[in-house]
């Protein structure tokens, strides 16, 4: 390979090399986010003794706000000057990319606020957490602006590699390391599949640049090119892993459960935002001419995600596992917009990503504080009586869960409504019906948590009462109070939930204690709930925002 390069280089010797013009404004938010991470790691290396969690959080919040301001400035600039493609065609500077930058910057801001209290509580010192979080956020932002398959790959890897480490960050919990290893192995597998997909697409079209691919496909009739279709399928598999769509979702319950709770929130929000942004850009804009080939596949993946996500979540006892399946269900909803592949579909997906980001980070903020010391109180029983002990926290959690279920007057309702409307628009009636049915099923498991919060704390043995009544009975109610260690290597979730149960619920003495909610976490929860309700009642601005972002698509 080096000889090839040598030949090419010496062949061009003496010739003037055209260096690309770097339009710094178009990558300003990414530069700020990465610069913040580099600054923080430098500061922490030089002033290790004086840097605490607080100062690291301060720098991170400052960076996230600066990124947000830069992105808003970009938005203004794009609206007045129009979209363009810069930096040798590898970066798209349009409303779509700016929208993703804004979503990710807000996600980073909220996560920094939540992580501050978490790190102090768990006694994990060091600013590395914030550095890695900022790096992974910059990766997601890069995926949003990428206009070249290899830049998407780089963004994907910056996003994922930092998240692998973040998943392992709580070294006091064995689950954390296990989650990181599982995430790493399956993530690396999906990355390799993705790269191979890029290689095949490159071979079939002669370029890895998205507009050039689109150009090639519009000029040449390659309706049944095997290499191209194989590449397309591999790309879809790679994206499927990142957005945790069924059947590429196996990693997500374990990783969501094992990772530190603030990381899970960040993972759910930005990995989905980045991967869906790239997925939309690649499939809707570049491979739009091959729509007939990929639409049925996405249709199938969407249905599987909707159904498996909703039903598997029903039998979970661990709230983080439940949220993992719920996020799979949400991925199915967002895929509805992708499948539509219309302007309406894309804008619905963008709106969903924005609304989901607030809901999921707020939810994980509450999960973080309820888990108490050691980040271990994730059973449904830990939420019993929360409504009585801390009514405000319980109310915030209830609002966030109901919003995820799609209750009216929240952003969640509108998000679900717009993607279903986009599906109906292109006559995917079956998909729309299944989506609505899965939303109804999903409402059960969200309501189960809400009911648990507002029911009194019972004795240790009465776990089964909670679910046996009106909600899903199923395998949970068979749980006997027998505390014999059940070492089942369960394949299905029913067995898994049983084995979780038999580990013994927390004693009511622990469950009765109030949980401490740090000030910054309160701010984050407040922002999430506020956004979810305010823009649920006044939906106009954000819907217009998402719609305009789509119109400024290059």
């Amino acid at each position: 390979m080096s000889t090839l390069l040598f030949a090419a280089a010496s062949g061009a010797y003496g010739a003037k090399i055209h260096t690309p013009h770097i339009d710094y404004l178009s990558i300003l938010p990414i530069l700020i986010m990465m610069g913040g991470a580099v600054l923080l790691v430098t500061a922490s290396s030089l002033f290790r003794q004086v840097m605490g969690v607080g100062s690291a959080t301060f720098i991170t919040v400052g960076t996230a706000i600066a990124t947000l301001v830069a992105a808003l400035f970009q938005w203004d600039h794009v609206v007045t000057h129009g979209a363009k493609v810069t930096i040798a065609g590898s970066i798209a500077y349009d409303g779509f990319s700016v929208f993703i930058q804004i979503v990710v910057a807000i996600a980073m801001l909220l996560t920094a606020l939540i992580a501050d209290g978490y790190l102090k509580r768990e006694g994990i010192d060091g600013p590395e957490f914030h550095v890695l979080a900022m790096l992974s956020a910059s990766g997601a932002m890069l995926m949003g602006s990428a206009n070249d398959l290899i830049v998407i790959f780089l963004g994907l890897e910056i996003l994922s590699i930092a998240l692998y480490v973040l998943a392992a960050f709580n070294h006091k919990r064995a689950e954390s390391g296990e989650a990181a290893l599982k995430y790493f192995v399956l993530g690396a597998f999906s990355s390799a599949v993705f790269v191979y997909g890029i290689a095949l697409v490159y071979g079939a079209t002669g370029s890895s640049n998205l507009p050039q691919i689109a150009d090639y496909l519009s000029k040449n009739v390659v309706a049944s090119n095997g290499v191209l279709l194989a590449g397309l399928a591999l790309l879809l598999v790679g994206f499927g892993f990142k957005i945790a769509a069924v059947p590429f979702h196996m990693w997500s319950p374990d990783v969501y459960q094992g990772s530190p709770s603030p990381v899970t929130g960040l993972m759910a929000a930005i990995a989905k935002a980045g991967a869906f942004a790239a997925l939309l850009r690649v499939f809707v804009s570049s491979f739009g001419t091959l729509r007939a080939d990929w639409q049925p596949i996405v249709w199938g993946i969407a249905i599987l995600s909707l159904v498996v996500g909703a039903f598997a979540a029903l039998v979970q006892k661990d709230i983080k596992r439940m949220m993992a399946y719920s996020s799979i269900n949400h991925a199915g909803f967002i895929l509805l917009g992708v499948q539509a592949a219309t302007v309406r579909g894309v804008s619905a997906s963008l709106y969903y990503l924005f609304a989901y980001m607030f809901m999921v980070i707020g939810t994980f903020a509450v999960i973080t504080v309820v888990a108490r010391d050691g980040d271990s109180g994730h059973q449904l029983t830990d939420y019993r009586g929360l409504g009585k002990r801390q009514p405000l926290l319980a109310l915030a959690f209830a609002v966030l869960l109901l919003a995820q279920a799609g209750a009216p007057f929240t952003t969640g309702f509108l998000a679900k409504f717009t993607v279903v409307a986009a599906a109906v628009d292109i006559h995917s009636y079956a998909l729309a019906v299944i989506a609505m049915a899965s939303a109804a099923v999903a409402a059960f498991f969200y309501l189960r948590v809400v009911v648990a919060m507002y029911s009194p704390v019972g004795a240790v043995g009465d776990l089964s009462d909670l679910d046996a009544g009106e909600l899903d009975a199923g395998p949970i109610s068979v749980a006997s109070p027998a505390n014999a260690p059940v070492s089942v290597h369960g394949q299905n979730d029913a067995v898994a939930s049983l084995s979780v149960l038999t580990e013994g619920p927390p004693t009511s003495a622990v469950a009765d204690r109030m949980v401490r909610v740090p000030g910054l976490t309160t701010v984050a929860i407040g922002l999430s709930v506020g956004f979810t309700i305010v823009f649920g009642i006044i939906p106009g601005p954000i819907v217009d925002f998402a719609h305009q972002a789509t119109l400024l698509f290059t």
């Binding site: 390979m1 790959f153 392992a168 459960q257």
Partner: protein, 110 residues
């Protein structure tokens, strides 16, 4: 593929390289799914990434486009970074365990 690709200047045509890359990729994917040793699983990931690299270089040669070779650099660097992080995670985990077998990881089920 056979119809689309032009013959290389050398003795061996490009299709063979592509076939080799596909076989390497399949071995890597297969090995990742069936092997239980985490370090061997890392090697399988490397094999898959290098199969992609071989595909890139072959297509770059077929298309007479230097771009494909440049992409290999990025994949190489990412592969190195990935394996370093993976080894770091493994080292962090196996401070408390004796061996590197994926079957030991069943704290979480479902």
């Amino acid at each position: 593929m056979i119809g689309a690709a032009s013959a290389l200047n050398g003795n061996i045509s490009g299709e063979w390289y592509l076939a080799l890359a596909a076989v390497l990729f399949a071995i890597g994917a297969f090995g990742l799914l069936i092997r239980r040793n985490v370090l061997v699983m890392f090697m399988c990931v490397e094999l898959m990434l290098n199969a992609a690299n071989l595909t890139f270089v072959t297509f770059a040669n077929m298309l007479h486009d230097i771009g494909g070779q440049v992409l290999v650099f990025f994949v190489l660097v990412v592969a190195a970074a990935e394996v370093v992080v993976g080894l770091g995670i493994v080292v962090a985990i196996f401070r408390r365990r004796a061996n590197a077998t994926a079957d030991d990881f069943h704290l979480m089920k479902g």
